[in-house]
Assembly symmetry: C2
Homo-oligomer: 337 residues x 2
DNA sequence: GCATGGATTGTAAGCGCTTTCATTCGACAT
DNA sequence: ATGTCGAATGAAAGCGCTTACAATCCATGC
């Protein structure tokens, strides 16, 4: 097995020093064109690729950023991650992916592991996590960006949207159509600021109209179609029955659609259902979901760009808000008369 | 900013040499228990973590494996990737993710980049790619595993299932129900052995019954609901109209469902539709899809394990077949009489 | 003709960790 | 006591690359 060529081999073949070869890679403008050409030819003929470890050791950079997301099986994260990966790849940076499965301790462990691997920066989902974790980040001076959550006054770098306001907006729309008995199937809010903000937002809107949002009309369900269906069946058994169900995300809303149907009722004639996220599923189910469109891809790309800027030492805080608009489709209509 | 402690600091604090500290991490059995305890205490009190680059340089291992998939936005890859990540994480290995967007050249570039980063192993999707790429892999001695594709006589390590046989099985089932005019909306087969094998399998089954599968009854469509719908509309305009549409995957099948409906026809009364993959979507659309269940998670986990074994120097070829069974749901029925 | 200064290039000192080889330490047999 | 041998440890040589600093080259200006 022919051993890999090293920088030194390239240097010898092209008749320059290792320093020059290194510069061809890292600061080409410092090298005279003719010399550069010669080095590049040697690189090509040897099939040389820089050794990652040596590079990382000497430069103390890894050209790697880490992302810790709850799970890739959730389409919104998959999509965002995809956009991040593309953006980072353009800058020659690769993505190290870890998943926490919505478990705080596991997230903390993953973050520590990624830092240990010397990632140049970190992308994290949402802002609710232990202070100790943030301290670790600060102590090591590792740049990071929080995605999906956003608050105007967030003390941390974030790229996201106002979950609370968006949830309030869609709830407002439901009230506007004349609904008065409104239920909500929320995602699990524990340790999940996005899910919690969506509940708060919905409650904001209802309260403003003198309506309440409390159990049993407010239930939490795990992120799955079946959990959504089960929750909807329970809501349909309530007396009085709600005429609209706000859902914390499109997956739950899809389940709600099925649950309502199983209860022998029709959407939107008897009961309206709304989603959140606008994943592909929302367009495809019957009736298609009225939901909140979240620009997952753009958000991921922006977050990656912001992180890259931070790594490059860009000054100033990052606080980028994306908008999230309501998409009206067939699952929302006025209540039955 | 306090600089990170290094091996030497730990050594000094615990009164041993750097070699011993290193051994505590890499070969603890060589160190006397008492010494080990002392070193571990020093590590803890200093909050030491090994420097990744130094380690990679000296040991020539990175504890990292790479995966190049077409896109994370395809649920089947997201799911498989998730399983891989979990399996690798258990072994202390992290996953470097790249996407090719179904582009061969880009895939080759990503593979080269990952190898350059010194990944210990590589997970690749399918088997159709340039010989040069395989040569690169062999030359560098980088272990790899191909996933999603499988052939009994594959000369390369693979973990997958027999796409051709599975496609033949579901087509056979369609014929068995009495269909004679059978169309197929396939995925793009160029550079995609899975999509091509599914077409071949379907044709195998039809041919065995004296039926043909050719344009315009055989069309290819990009991986999207809309493309599936468009293809289905075109199929519905054909004379004679097919009574069944085999689809290369569930996303296309979902589109087909919409396309058929838009043509004013009903599934499965007028036209039957079958999918492939059994992603969540398949259960959720109306009618739910009869499809081929592929164990994406198990497959991903198996692939990761196989790769880990290869990296650890396990001998012998890898050739693991998963089964893929037909799941009967409402979208397939006998043809109209 | 010679000092000046920017543009290029070379020299060599690490970056933090692993690992080979040699050394030291003990326990045990002689 | 002395010699032997395995276990435990230390010394030091890199691993491949970056980069501060020094050296060299060459066009300019006086």
């Amino acid at each position: 097995m022919p051993t890999q060529p090293k920088l030194e081999d390239v240097a010898r073949l092209s008749g320059v020093s290792t320093a020059t070869v290194s510069r061809v890679f890292n600061a080409p403008t410092l090298v005279r064109e003719e010399t550069r050409k010669r080095v590049e030819a040697a690189v090509a003929s040897l099939g040389y690729t820089p050794h990652f470890g040596g590079r990382a050791l000497a430069s103390n950079r890894t050209w790697t950023v880490g992302a810790v997301i709850p799970t890739m099986e959730n389409a919104i994260f998959a999509r965002g991650l995809q956009a991040m990966e593309e953006t980072l790849a353009e800058a020659g940076v690769t993505l190290l992916v870890s998943t926490s499965n919505y478990d705080c301790d596991r997230e903390a462990a993953q973050i520590a592991a990624l830092i240990g691997r010397g990632v140049d920066g970190l992308i994290l989902i949402g802002e609710s996590r232990e202070d100790a974790t943030y301290e670790l980040l600060e102590r090591r001076g590792t740049p990071y960006v929080l995605v999906w959550s956003w608050r105007a006054d967030s003390p941390r770098p974030c790229v996201g949207f106002d979950n609370r306001a968006a949830a309030a907006a869609i709830a407002e729309r439901v009230v506007e159509l004349g609904h008065r008995r409104i239920a909500m199937i929320a995602g699990i809010t524990d340790h999940n600021d996005r899910a919690a903000a969506r509940v708060d937002g919905a409650r904001d809107a209802l309260t403003a109209h003198g309506l309440a949002l409390e159990p049993p009309y407010l239930v939490e369900a795990k992120y799955s179609v079946d959990a959504g269906a089960k929750a909807a069946r329970a809501l349909m058994a309530l007396d009085p029955r709600p005429t609209a169900i706000l859902c914390g995300n499109d997956v739950l809303a899809t389940g709600a659609l099925m649950g309502v149907r199983e209860a022998g009722l029709s959407v939107p004639r008897d009961v309206s259902v709304t989603g959140f996220d606008d994943i592909e599923l929302a367009r495809v189910v019957d009736p298609p979901l009225t939901t909140v469109h979240v620009p997952h891809r753009r958000m991921g790309a922006q977050a990656a760009e912001a992180l890259l800027a931070q790594c490059a030492g860009a000054p100033g805080p990052v606080n980028i808000a994306m908008e999230a608009d309501i998409i009206e489709r067939g699952s929302l209509a006025p209540p039955p008369t």
